[in-house]
């Protein structure tokens, strides 16, 4: 079974600084997707960024970028120019291509942004 591990239960960053959240995963598949989701307090989970495993180029979305290392099964999220609104739980998730294509989540990292 696929597993997703987030080794940082909590992280903090100063406003306007850069922070990197770590994620590793375990799979025997070659075709899959990886995601970072953000869950603000008392609000719904929203997709931050996604990466297709077959693409070598790292995905970017404005201030958010990933470092995808397929061989190492590593998928980290970098947040640049951190803003107070970035404070949330961040979940790394894996989705296999084929089958039910369900999302498998890590346990999350709580990000605090200090003014």
């Amino acid at each position: 079974a696929q597993t997703v591990t987030q080794s940082q239960p909590e992280m903090s960053v100063q406003e306007a600084e850069t922070v990197t959240l770590s994620c590793t995963y375990d799979t025997s598949e070659s075709d899959y997707y990886l995601f970072w989701y953000k869950q603000p307090p008392s609000r719904q989970m929203i997709l931050v960024i996604r990466q297709e495993a077959y693409k070598q180029q790292n995905a970017t979305e404005n201030r958010f970028s990933v470092n995808f290392q397929k061989a190492a099964k590593s998928f980290s999220l970098k947040i640049s120019d951190s803003q107070l609104g970035d404070a949330a739980m961040y979940f790394c998730a894996y989705r296999q291509h084929g089958g039910s294509e369900k999302l498998v989540f890590g346990k999350g990292t709580k990000l605090t942004v200090n003014p």
Binding site: Q44, I46, E101, K102, L103, V104
Partner: protein, 113 residues
Amino acid sequence: EAEVAQSPRYKITEKSQAVAFWCDPISGHATLYWYRQILGQGPELLVQFQDESVVDDSQLPKDRFSAERLKGVDSTLKIQPAELGDSAMYLCASSLGLRREAFFGQGTRLTVV
């Protein structure tokens, strides 16, 4: 902006009672998911529907949990009888299809006392 609607937002129930949650996906979304998120953990899939058919319910405790999506639109998740360990956030999500982005509702926080 279209959203996944869930009700109630909060539910407190006594152990051994029945409880039900409702989810209305974004219009046109064929795939619907129910996830359970225990405090401090990531969400875990309970059941997934494609239209009115169950695609994956391998992690659904079928002795006490049931889910239906009779007309392929809204869905109900039921627990009977509720146990203390069922206290969690129950999240509903929907997507246009299996390989499309999933959109989440705000969830129902269940407390079993």
